[in-house]
Amino acid sequence: MEALSSWFTYVSANIDYIWESTLAHARISLIAVALATVFSITLGVIVQRRPLARTIVLTAAGILLTIPSLALFALFIPVFGIGNTPAIAALYLYAILPILRNTVTGLDSVSPAVVESARGMGLSTWQQLVKVRLPLAWPVIMTGIRVATLLTVGITAIAVLVGGDGLGTYVQSALTRNGLPNATEQLYVGVVFTVALGLVLDLVLAVVQRFTTAKGLRL
């Protein structure tokens, strides 16, 4: 009880900084997810009907996910230096797999009869993609984007170790100041606000998903 009230005291005293960190956190995550979305959908469209390329690309994206996150962040320091950029680069790589895989699965799930009739009516390959295949795959792709967002928001906390911003600063501070006043409060600021940010972004994306999904496909 006392711990809780002291946490609230800490939060209200530092709300401006916390808010700023949360926004920075969101920005880093969303930039990474946005880049990964563009890249993954493009790549997914290209490889979906090419069995070999598809296996290679999906496996590669899977391997990226298994690289320890701290190491992946560090790998980009020689390239981008210290700051948010190496963090975004690493997060971008993590976000690829869920979106890529869902793009491929989503396109797979489009009924062949629908594509056949689209082609039979004289829609060009491009029209088939943007008017039929992508809109039908969209709910599945969007789910991939949401998973990627949740994943990224969590890992963004590590950005601080390569000189980036975000709520990771509170976690790091708590660890280095372990036992000192406010260390526990800071740890919980890091945890609670990261989780809350993830939930809020997921909720926003859920609304976006609903409004970008064609009415005939909504349940």
């Binding site: 629908v114 056949e116 009516m121 004289g122």
Partner: protein, 388 residues
Amino acid sequence: MNAQAKIHLDRVVKKYPGSKVPAVEELTLDIPEGEILVLVGPSGCGKSTTLRLINRMIEPSGGRILLDGEDVTKANPDKLRRRIGYVIQQVGLFPHHTIADNIATIPKMLKWDKKRITERVDYLLDTVGLPPEQYRDRYPRELSGGQAQRVGVARALGADPDIMLMDEPFGAIDPITRERLQNEFLRLQEEMHKTIVFVTHDIDEAIKMGDRIAILGERSTIRQYDTPERILAYPVDDFVNDFIGNGSTIKGLNFLQVSSLRLSDYPALRESESAAAGLNLLQEKGRDWLVVLDGEGRPVRWASQEQLGQAGTGDMRGVGVEVGDHLKDENTLFEALELMVQSAAGRTCVVDDAGQFQGIVDMGHLNKAIRTAQSEARRHYEELEANA
């Protein structure tokens, strides 16, 4: 075969990569303008492949395809397909578009103006029997299978193409709905006069839908190409005969009309006459059954010698058994057969438009009609052979 072939396939070959035998082997085929040509044959014989070659859903490995005399083998396939309606068994409506938008797909691509598109959509929905107010704004998942296929047909008719390709369009639909769709489509075709290539593996559907039928064997080779009546009357070989199956002669009766028969003189008397007069007439003509007519000269009952004998001295009112339904000129001999086997006398009465008795049809007529059709068909094939 004739000068006004709308579609002409000239030694078209399709070999799928990786398969040794071609799916279509040197197929030459004329599809006459304004008719329904049915491609029918056993599963895997290459019907769908042949159909899909016409709108270049698959590219031929050899040969030429001509539409209106123009070689389209090198044309832009997307533009070609917009000129040709295409209906498939699985329909493939766009689930994310309303029914109206589905039907408007090609008109929109052709940049028709809005008003024209709306009118076209409503007209087509009406044409396929779906009230526009009710169906326009629905989504495909809100339709039954039969309704979806109707929309599929409407969508293919979107920009009023003069050619339609239909691959087992009614194949996945229950028999009752299928029959209804077939009838509706035939009625539609009577107004539209489109050139239609229709694929089915069901010979009965082929007989019903086709102005002409091409019976295909393996590798899409033509085993027989003719009108349904001639194919039924004269299957050229065992393959065709087996494919048509039992009852082909009886099915052939569907294509012969009562008007083609020469009705023989048959004893008939008004019921106001005496039974004795009836009996006399029957004995004089050497017949067993008399047609009893009412005051207006309409056939009402069959009276046998025996029944007349028992009727005593009165007139023929109430004597004999009901004649049942009558035939008219436009009825088919299949319908005649149906009535005949139900009739006590084994015969059916033919009446004119006013219902007056004209004569009777019996087994002898059918037999003769069938034999005539068969010998005409045989002569036709002999002539073809002699000219070849």
